[in-house]
């Protein structure tokens, strides 16, 4: 137990970061029925912007810039790559998402020159090393889960109590009817991407504070894990995504702790496949049936 403790702490922290990404997946999937393959890359871009800005600007400028850039990117992706395909088959939408992911990675490669960018000026205070219960870690590990839960509560409150939140709920229940009932569907979708990207940016700042560098592929794996967390929790459900993310973060770190690092991702995917086959609606999801 003593030996596993650092892994448990890391697991909770990773879970919080995955949760922030997973919400983006789950919100978008809930409305567009699209696995936004580019979401992990948005996360990566946030990391890159952070590396570039923190090295030249004070914190109170750089952090807002990271958040704004990421939100603009998420918004632009939806407008350019998904909106024109609103009436196209779902497969085209998914292909477009894969294309965007490919494009972002290649553009990032071109801009960064292909080498991982070291995180030289991590955010002070949160990146300081502390010791809890005999385990050494950075302060961010403790901040992450707290901040995650806080943001989730704000989001849930927002979705429950505002007009646009109601639009989001209506669109995820029945896209066409919501549109017919006068929900401004394009605004709602854009807003969904903005919220998702914002949370991914926060997740990214926390995530890369704990890592030595940002590479162009840094987004794919956390992205996939977060997506799996969203499926595990029941796609479309925010609490589901958060619970799923914490479970996956914990499991992964525990497996590393037991000395099977090679299989930590394989385990996550195995979990995904088992969930899909046994209970495709996940922990909190709802069943959808097709009409013949």
């Amino acid at each position: 137990m003593e030996a596993l403790l650092p892994y448990i702490i890391n697991g909770v922290s990773a879970g919080g970061q995955y949760a922030l990404i997973a919400i983006g997946y789950t919100l978008v999937y809930g409305i567009l029925r699209l696995i936004n393959f580019a979401h992990g890359d948005v996360f990566m871009v946030a990391g890159l912007v952070m590396v570039y800005t923190t090295s030249s600007m004070p914190l109170y400028v750089s952090i807002p810039i990271v958040l704004i850039c990421t939100v603009v990117l998420g918004f632009a992706i939806e407008r350019v790559a998904y909106k024109p395909l609103r009436s196209a088959p779902r497969m085209s939408l998914m292909i477009s998402a894969i294309g965007v992911s490919y494009l972002i990675q290649n553009l990032a490669f071109y801009i960064t020159g292909g080498l991982p960018k070291p995180v030289l000026n991590p955010i002070p205070w949160v990146s300081e090393t502390i010791t809890i219960l005999g385990a050494t870690t950075k302060r961010v590990t403790l901040v992450t889960p707290v901040l995650t839960i806080l943001l989730v509560f704000v989001l849930v409150y927002f979705i429950k109590n505002t007009k646009i939140g109601m639009g989001m709920r209506a669109a995820s229940r029945d896209f066409e009817t919501a549109r017919l009932m006068g929900v401004k569907i394009n605004t709602v979708i854009s807003f969904t991407f903005i919220v998702g990207s914002f949370l991914a940016a926060v997740g990214s700042i926390l995530y890369f504070t704990n890592y030595p560098s940002v590479a162009i592929t840094s987004g794919s794996l956390p992205g996939l894990r977060a997506f799996i967390a969203a499926v595990f929790g029941g796609i479309g459900s925010i609490p589901g995504a958060v619970v799923g993310a914490f479970i996956i973060g914990l499991c992964e770190e525990m497996i590393k702790g037991l000395g099977y690092s090679t299989f930590s991702d394989a385990f996550t995917f195995a979990l995904l496949i088992i969930v899909l086959c046994v209970k495709p609606t996940g922990l909190f999801g709802e069943k959808v049936t097709d009409k013949v």
């Binding site: 553009l107 499926v231 995917f269």
Partner: protein, 382 residues
């Protein structure tokens, strides 16, 4: 009567085209050194063509959106490498694992019996097919749970399986078989690009025949309307499994040939990015068009490996601009083109049409054959 005549004409033109292709290939092999960029492009592009067509069979013709291609290629590639490295070189390749578990080589075994040329090539082909069979077997197992899933869930589950497979092949405990995360190398290769083109041509021809058979029509029926297909007596589970297995079989062979082309093999190269790349080639060629996939594979590889090289190295089309044309610009441009195709030309270059000998014959008939009084004089001038 007209029908019979045109069928005969078509087969004559078809055979003529094949012969021309073979002649060109022989000339290329004879005059160009094997490291020449044209030879490399032909080899790699034909491998991509096979893999893209196999993916098209599944995603385009059966409507199953699978992203497991890289995983099945990995299986084929490793099977090929593991069973074809010459025994004498195994100690060197598997230096951290005492020469590995397997101490025979199929191509070597055949070349002992049938001589260097025939035996070796036959051994290579059989080992490649073995790789395809291994991939097909895994496809059967993986298909049992995942083929019941719908579109995007199927995509993510197959992607997951490919990642799991990759993790297993890097596992140190399987090192004596897979060499862990170290390179596999020293396995035999065809001496010429013709070998690649002929073999892959045969495989693609088989896929074309399958697509146009009654099974191919059943696959298309499932793609167009699953419920109607089922109501017309087409067993969904059986036919989806069949398409998945056949597609994986050819992906496995393609993987083996990619390993052959690359010369060294590492599980790390078979990431999901490879699947995405192939998927985008399929999309650009037209989902549901085999000739589209083939043509795009050649265009894509030729531009990536050859024509657009300048974009990465400073000078492109005579313009010298090292500030812009630096490492990564080529990929950025290519992915931008891909996005434009996906968004504005979603049918790809061929849609779901095919480029056929019949079409060529018709085209030339219109150009020369069907002389109307008007353009008869024009012909005389030529």
């Amino acid at each position: 009567m007209i029908n019979k005549y045109s069928v005969r004409k078509e087969s004559i033109v078809g055979i003529a085209l094949l012969l021309i292709l073979l002649a060109v290939m022989t000339v290329i092999d004879f005059f160009l050194p094997s490291y020449h960029i044209a030879v490399m492009v032909i080899k790699k592009a034909s491998v991509y063509a096979l893999v893209a067509v196999s993916m098209n069979l599944l995603n385009g013709f059966t409507g199953l959106f699978s992203l497991g291609q890289a995983g099945f290629m990995l299986l084929g590639a490793y099977t090929y490498a593991i069973f074809s490295i010459p025994v004498a070189k195994r100690a060197g390749v598997y230096q951290y694992f005492d020469g590995g578990w397997i101490q025979f080589s199929i191509p070597e075994f055949f070349s002992e019996f049938l001589g260097e040329t025939i035996g070796l090539n036959m051994g290579i082909i059989l080992t490649l097919i073995l790789g395809g069979l291994v991939a097909a077997f895994f496809a059967y197992l993986i298909g049992l749970p995942v083929l019941r899933l719908k579109s995007d869930y199927l995509a993510i589950a197959t992607l997951g399986f490919a990642e799991i497979l990759r993790a297993f092949f890097q596992w140190p405990n399987l090192g004596p078989l897979t060499n862990g995360s170290n390179l596999l190398k020293s396995y035999p290769d065809f001496k010429s690009a013709t070998g690649y083109v002929v073999l892959i041509g045969i495989f693609i021809a088989m896929i074309v025949l399958l697509v146009n058979s009654t099974y191919g029509r059943a696959f298309k029926a499932i793609r167009d309307d699953e419920i109607a297909a089922e109501a017309m007596g087409i067993n969904l589970a059986k036919h989806k499994r069949l398409a998945f297995i056949i597609s994986s079989f050819f992906a496995g062979i393609g993987g083996g040939m990619l390993a052959m082309y690359m010369g060294t093999l590492q599980a790390l190269s078979f990431k999901s990015t490879m699947t995405y790349e192939i998927l985008l080639v399929v999309v650009m060629g037209g989902i549901g068009s085999i000739t589209g996939s083939v043509i795009t594979s050649f265009m894509y590889i030729a531009s990536m490996e050859w024509l657009l090289r300048g974009l990465d190295s400073g000078t492109f089309l005579g313009i010298h601009a090292p500030g812009v044309f630096k490492n990564g610009f080529r990929m950025a441009v290519v992915s931008l083109i891909i996005m434009v195709v996906v968004l504005f030309f979603s049918k790809g270059i061929m849609g779901d049409r095919e480029f056929s000998v019949k079409g060529i014959v018709k085209f030339f008939d219109r150009l020369f054959g069907k002389k109307t009084p008007k353009n008869a004089g024009g012909d005389g001038n030529v």
